[in-house]
C-alpha cells in the first residue's frame, strides 16, 4: 500500500477502538447506490522505479531543442543553491503559515520577498505573490476598480502592446464582474503605444490604464508620458513589468511625475525554471494608500509576548477566510515555493549580478537580430528601442518557417500571427544569457537553410 503505513495489526486495533468490524463499515452513512465501482479506467499502480522510468522517458522526448522563444517566459541560469534550498522539506512540505510561531521560516522569507519586490519596482508594498503574471493583471484590474475613488467606471484601458494572453486571461476573469477592457491600438512603425493613441479617450471615465514595460514586442514604451497622461485624466496606472528588466530600467514607482499605482508581472525570470508554464508566480506591488485594496496574503513584522520581533500574516480582514463574500479576492494561496526561489535567486544575484544578466540577455538578443537580419529577406520590424526581445519580419508565413526550424530542433520564436493577423509573417525572438555564440550561429544557419 504505497504511502500508507498501516499493518494488519494496526487496522484491527484501530477498528476495535472505533467499534467497527471493517473499514467498509465506516462508510455506512453513505447511500449504497452511490458507492463507486472499481475505477476500471485507472491503470494498475506502479512502483516509484516504474513511474520514474516512465516519466523520464517522456521528459527525454521533449528535451534537446535550442529555444529562442520568450514571450513571457524566459530561460535563465538558475544557481543550484536556489532549488536545493527551496525543496528542503522545511520549505517544500510546510503548510500555509497560519500558525505563525511554527512558520517563522516561511514568514520571514515572504517578508524578505515583499521587500525585494517593493525595491525592484520602486513601490511601497508587495503581497506574498499571486498565481502568475496574467492572473495577477486581472487582480490588479479589480483592485484598481476598488482603489480609484475618482472613477465610477468598470472600464480599463489596455493597449494592444500588452501580452495578448494577459489580456485574454484578464478578460476571462474580470468580465464576470462586467469589467470592460478597452483596447488601445499601437503605433505600427514604432511598436509602441503612442500617447497620441490615448487622446481619443480623454474626458471619458476609465478606472485605470495598463502599461507593459517592456511591452509584448520587447519594445520600450514611453512610460513617463503614458503615466502622466493617465494621472492627468484620473486613471490609475497599472504597470506590468519583467523583473529582470528592472535591474536596468526605471522602476514603475518612478514613472512620470507620480509613478505607477499598482505593479504586477510574471516573476518566473527570477529563478523559476520554464517548467512547461508553471508553477510561476505573479508579483503584485502598490503604493501605500492602496495596500488595503490589495488581494492575497501579506506578511507583517510584529513582536511576540517578550517583545522579540517576529513575522505574521496580517491584514487578514481583507481575505476570504475572514471576510468571505466581502473579501478583496477569493485567492487563498500564494506561489510559495516559486516565490521562495525568487528570493534566494535575487540574493545570489544581487543588484550587479541581476544587471549583468539583463545586459547579457539584451546583448545576446541584439547579436541574434544582427545575425538573423543578415539572412536574405529578414528584417527588424519596429523602430523603438527594445529590451531582450525583438520582432523580425520573415519573407514567408512565420508559422511555416517556425515549423521547419522545429524540425531542425530549433524553436525559433513566437508566431505573432496568432494574436496579430497583420503580423503573420513576424516572429518575436529572444536570446537570454544562457545562449552562446554558437547557438546564435546555429539559428542563423538553420534559418538560412529554411529560407533558401
Amino acid at each position: 500500500m504505497p504511502y500508507i503505513p498501516h499493518t494488519e495489526d494496526d487496522v484491527q486495533a484501530m477498528l476495535a477502538a472505533i467499534g467497527a468490524n471493517s473499514i467498509e463499515d465506516l462508510f455506512d452513512e453513505i447511500p449504497a447506490h452511490l458507492k463507486a465501482g472499481k475505477l476500471e479506467a485507472l491503470p494498475d499502480g506502479l512502483s516509484e522505479m516504474e513511474a520514474t522510468a516512465l516519466m523520464a522517458a517522456r521528459a527525454r522526448q521533449d528535451a534537446g531543442a535550442l529555444c529562442f522563444i520568450g514571450a513571457g517566459a524566459y530561460e535563465h541560469h538558475i544557481p543550484a543553491a536556489v532549488w536545493e534550498i527551496a525543496t528542503r522539506g522545511e520549505y517544500y512540505t510546510a503548510y500555509t503559515p497560519y500558525q505563525a510561531e511554527a512558520s517563522q521560516g516561511t514568514l520571514q522569507t515572504i517578508y524578505e520577498y515583499q521587500t525585494l519586490m517593493a525595491r525592484l519596482t520602486g513601490m511601497d508594498a508587495s503581497n506574498a505573490s499571486v498565481y502568475d503574471g496574467a492572473s495577477g493583471l486581472s487582480e490588479a484590474v479589480l483592485m484598481a476598480l476598488r482603489a480609484n475613488r475618482k472613477s465610477k467606471s468598470s472600464r480599463v484601458l489596455v493597449p494592444q502592446t500588452v501580452h495578448p494572453r494577459y489580456r485574454q486571461a484578464t478578460d476571462a476573469i474580470c468580465s464576470n464582474q462586467n469589467v470592460e477592457l478597452v483596447s488601445v491600438p499601437f503605433d505600427s512603425a514604432a511598436g509602441l503605444t503612442a500617447v497620441e493613441a490615448l487622446a481619443p479617450f480623454a474626458g471619458e471615465d476609465f478606472a485605470a490604464l495598463v502599461i507593459q514595460q517592456p511591452n509584448f514586442f520587447g519594445a520600450l514604451e514611453d512610460v513617463h508620458a503614458l503615466t502622466d497622461w493617465a494621472h492627468a485624466n484620473n486613471l490609475l496606472v497599472i504597470a506590468v513589468t519583467n523583473p529582470t528588466s528592472l535591474a536596468l530600467l526605471a522602476p514603475p514607482g518612478e514613472w512620470g511625475t507620480q509613478g505607477a499605482d499598482i505593479v504586477v508581472g510574471e516573476g518566473q525570470p527570477l529563478g523559476v525554471p520554464l517548467s512547461s508554464g508553471g508553477p510561476y508566480f505573479g508579483f503584485m506591488c502598490c503604493k501605500q494608500q492602496h495596500i488595503r485594496q490589495m488581494p492575497g496574503r501579506i506578511i507583517g513584522r510584529t513582536v511576540d509576548l517578550e517583545g522579540k520581533p517576529g513575522f505574521t500574516l496580517t491584514l487578514q480582514a481583507r481575505e476570504q477566510h475572514i471576510r468571505r463574500s466581502k473579501a478583496t479576492s477569493n485567492i487563498c494561496t500564494n506561489q510559495g515555493l516559486a516565490m521562495t526561489a525568487a528570493t534566494i535567486y535575487a540574493s545570489l544575484l544581487g543588484p550587479d549580478g541581476l544587471e549583468a544578466v539583463a545586459a547579457h540577455c539584451h546583448a545576446n538578443t541584439r547579436a541574434l537580430v544582427s545575425k538573423l537580419t543578415a539572412v536574405n529577406g529578414v528584417s527588424e520590424v519596429f523602430s523603438a528601442p527594445v529590451f531582450h526581445e525583438a520582432v523580425l519580419r520573415l519573407p514567408r508565413k512565420a508559422a511555416d518557417v517556425l515549423a521547419a526550424l522545429a524540425q531542425r530542433n530549433i524553436l525559433g520564436g513566437y508566431d505573432l500571427g496568432q494574436d496579430y493577423p497583420e503580423l503573420a509573417d513576424c516572429v518575436l525572438i529572444c536570446a537570454t544569457e544562457t545562449r552562446v555564440e554558437a547557438d546564435l550561429d546555429a539559428y542563423a544557419a538553420a534559418l538560412k537553410e529554411v529560407l533558401a
Partner: protein, 488 residues
Amino acid sequence: LNHQLIYELSRPGRRASAQSPKALPAEALADIPAALRRQQKPGLPEVSELQVVRHYTNLSTRNFAIDKQFYPLGSCTMKYNPRGANRAAMLPGFLGRHPLAPESHSQGFLACMFELQEFLKEVTGMKGVSLTPMAGAQGEFAGVAMIRAYHEARNDDARTEILIPEAAHGTNPATAVMCGYKVREVPVNKDGDVDLEALKAACGPQTAGLMMTNPSTCGVFERQIDAIAKTVHEAGGLLYYDGANLNAILGKVRPGDMGFDVIHMNLHKTFATPHGGGGPGAGPVGVSERLTPFLPTPIVGKDGNTYRWLDQNDLPQSIGHLSAFMGNAGVLLRAYFYARVLGREGMIRVGEYSTLAANYLLKRLEAIGCTPAYPKRRASHEFILTFAKEAKELGVSAMDIAKRLLDYNQHAPTTYFPLLVPECFLIEPTETETKEALDEFVDAMVKILAEAKENPDLLKGAPYTQPVRRLDDVKAARELDLIWKDTA
C-alpha cells in the same frame, strides 16, 4: 540565533560572483534611452553565496513541515508528499520545456497531462476535465464561471444567486462574488446536514447553483445528497462540488455519481503535491456533460497517437484562459506521478485509510474527554471537536490549546473553522500517518487537558519552544511593517 534579515547582511560591493556573468561594456546597453534607465541600483542584498545558503538553510529550520511533524489540519489534507514525485517533475526535460514550445516538442509532457485528465475524470465520475486552474480557489472560480456561462448560453439570465451552506469554506462566497453572483447562505442542522427545508425555500428561478462539499466541513457525509441535488436541479440550478474534502471519499463515492455538475480538486491535498508553505497548488476542474463546452482552456486532446492543445478554436464557448500558459505544470506532473504509483487500488485505499484514521482518532480523543461536535456521526476523513466547555469553565480557548500543541511538536489542527461550531478544532489525520503518530497526538492532548485544569495560564502563554513566543497580530495590522527599510 539567526533572525537577521538578508538585507541586514548586505555590504556594498559584496557579491556571489560565481552566479554573475562577466560585466559587459556600457556600449552593450547604449541603445536603451537614458530616460528609461533606472537611476539607482535596486536595493537587492549584496551578499556572498555562503551567506545566502546559510541564511535560507537556517531560516527554513524555523518551520514546521510534514517532513518533520504531524499536521492534523482539517480540510487541508497534509499528507506525505512523495519525494519521487519531486524528482520526476524536476527532470531536465520537463523543467527546460518552454510553455510555448511546439507540439512536436511536447508529446512527452502532453501525454502525461492527457492521462492525468483521464484519471481525474474516472476518479470523480465527471465527463470532462481541465487542468489549468492554478489553485483550488481558481478552480472554484472556473467552476462558478462555467455555471454562469451555462446559464448565459441558455439566455437564462435571471439567475443571480449562489446558495452556500453556512459551514462552507470562505473561498466559496468570495468566489461567487468574483463571478458576479450574490450569495445566500443555507443553514446546517445539529447533526451537520444541510437544512433541507431551508434549502427548498431558498431555491428558485434566481438560483444559479449550490456550492457545497461532501463530506462537508463538518466532517460528516451529507446523507441527503440525492434530495439536495434533486431540489437544486429542479429549480434549474447547478451543483458545485468543492473538492477540498475529496480525500475522504476518493475511490469510494464519486461526485459525478452524486449529481454534481462541476467539481474542483485540490491536487495539493488529495494528490499529495506539496503545500510549499502556502503554494503553489493546482485546482483542476471536472464537469458533467452539459458543462464540457465551457471548460477553461487549454485542455489536452488526442488525435490518433498525437497529443495537442485544445484552445478557443476547439472550444468556442470556453470561459477562456485563466493564466498566461497552461497552469501549474510542475504541480500537475507531481500529481500524475502520484496517480501512477497509486493506481486503481491505491486510489480506493486513500478514502478507506484516511477515514479509518479519522474515526480512530475521534474515538480516542472522545475517550480522553474531548467533545465531538457531532457525536452521533461517523467521521469522514476529518472531524470537529469543540472546546466551548473548556473555554467557559477554565478560560482556555481553542487557540491556547492549539499553541500549546506546538510545544509538544504537533502542528495545531485547523482552529475556529467551521465558524458555526464555537471554539473548535477541525482535525484530519490523513492516511499516511501511523497509528503511533495518532497516539502521540492523543498523548499530547491528554497532557494539555490536564495542564488546562491545573495551570490554565501555562496554555495562555504558549508556545514556549518555538523561535518566537505568541505574536501580536493586532500590532501587525495596526502598525503595518510590510517591507524592511534600512533606516528602520
